[in-house]
């Protein structure tokens, strides 16, 4: 750092400096704007994932409450529908975009990509 500061005054900032600075600052400004846009997108995605997780938790809770009087243990042991199985696992990691060991969003995404799944516009 000290070497950098020692070298810095040698830069002829009084003549062509403003133009060179303008060019490089413009470039860096574009980069910063891009990073800000990406950060906003990421925030929105995390919010959507959290929202999805909360909705699934609520749905699971509702289903559990509805299933209980009908003999909960047996019902819980029976195979659930595909969507239920995915739902049960989504709540585990819904708040994270990072790679998780199991039940991660990535794994769920794999399931969402399964050939039988149609995703229309």
């Amino acid at each position: 750092m000290s070497a950098l500061l020692a070298a810095a005054p040698a830069l002829p900032l009084h003549t062509a400096g403003p133009y060179v600075a303008a060019a490089y600052i413009f470039f860096l400004a574009i980069l910063v704007i891009y990073v800000a846009i990406m950060a906003t997108k990421l925030q929105r995605m995390k919010r959507d994932l959290n929202d999805l997780g909360e909705q699934l938790e609520a749905r699971d809770a509702r289903r559990a409450a509805a299933d209980e009087p009908a003999g909960g243990a047996d019902v819980a042991a029976t195979p659930q529908s595909d969507a239920d199985a995915v739902a049960a696992r989504t709540v585990v990691k819904a708040g994270s975009l990072g790679p998780g060991p199991r039940d991660s969003v990535g794994e769920l995404a794999q399931e969402a990509r399964s050939p039988e799944r149609e995703v229309d516009r």
Binding site: L11, Y24, V119
Partner: protein, 249 residues
């Protein structure tokens, strides 16, 4: 999950950019003719070169899309052109700043290199409106690919045409005669091209990962909560993953 290796790529890119800037300002000698203002060269020229390469690469992606009908290739072509346009703007802006400092004018209309670069920009600037004008995603992707291939073919032709032009004042860097750089400047220039290329690749990789992630999120929402939980998509210039997410890998 998409975006594998993004962290490593980002770190390498940041390091490459830091090294480039350090070399530009503390290693590369000042140009004997232009002096300190020539430092813009290490930003302007690599950005311009990477922009043109990006357009050609996008054409390759578009060919792949037409051959395989895999929407991921359309997404790659779209993203490459999209980021290429931003780099194109950076190239035009830094070039204008350099022109003002060096020639005293922001823009010189009788300079073939400048005008041709602007024409390339304007050509690819019509890519997004073209996509937006077509509602059907299949047709949109197909037409956009044809456009990208034509645009990519135009880039080298344009480059050759400019080379053949006479009476230019724009300096030649990559030339067999009359151009060339001293070894120290050449080294910094090559490092700068690599750094800008890495930056471009990283940004494109982020964009693709982001778009794929949003599509997977949307697919998950639909799968888990039903069709009513997903708002219908409006018209968009950005590619959609079509009727399935099978291709999202």
């Amino acid at each position: 999950m998409h975006g594998k290796g993004l962290r490593a790529l980002s770190l390498v890119t940041v390091a490459a950019l830091a090294v480039t800037f350090a070399l530009v300002f503390f290693y590369a000698p000042n140009d004997a003719d232009q002096g300190f203002i020539q430092k813009i060269f290490y930003l302007h020229v690599p950005v311009a070169i990477i922009t043109l390469i990006a357009y050609v690469v996008a054409g390759g992606f578009a060919i792949k899309h037409l051959r395989t009908n895999d929407r991921q290739w359309d997404l790659r072509a779209y993203t490459t052109i999209h980021i290429g346009l931003i780099f194109n703007i950076v190239g035009l802006a830094t070039g204008a700043i350099w022109a003002k400092a060096s020639w005293g004018h922001w823009w010189v209309w009788d300079e073939p290199t400048l005008v041709s670069f602007l024409i390339v920009f304007l050509l690819f600037a019509t890519y997004q409106p073209l996509r937006f004008s077509i509602e059907d995603p299949e047709r949109q992707a197909r037409y956009a690919s044809v456009f990208a291939i034509m645009g990519a073919a135009f880039v080298p032709l344009n480059f050759i045409a400019v080379r053949a032009a006479t009476g230019y004042v724009h300096p030649r860097v990559l030339a067999s005669t009359g151009g060339g750089l001293p070894a120290s400047m050449g080294l910094v220039f090559v490092v700068a091209i690599v750094a800008v290329g890495l930056l471009f690749t990283t940004i494109v990789a982020y964009e693709i990962a982001s778009k794929n992630a949003s599509w997977q999120l949307r697919a998950l929402r639909r799968r888990l909560l039903g069709d009513d939980a997903v708002a219908p998509l409006g018209r968009s210039a950005a590619p959609t993953m079509g009727s399935t997410l099978e291709s999202a890998r």
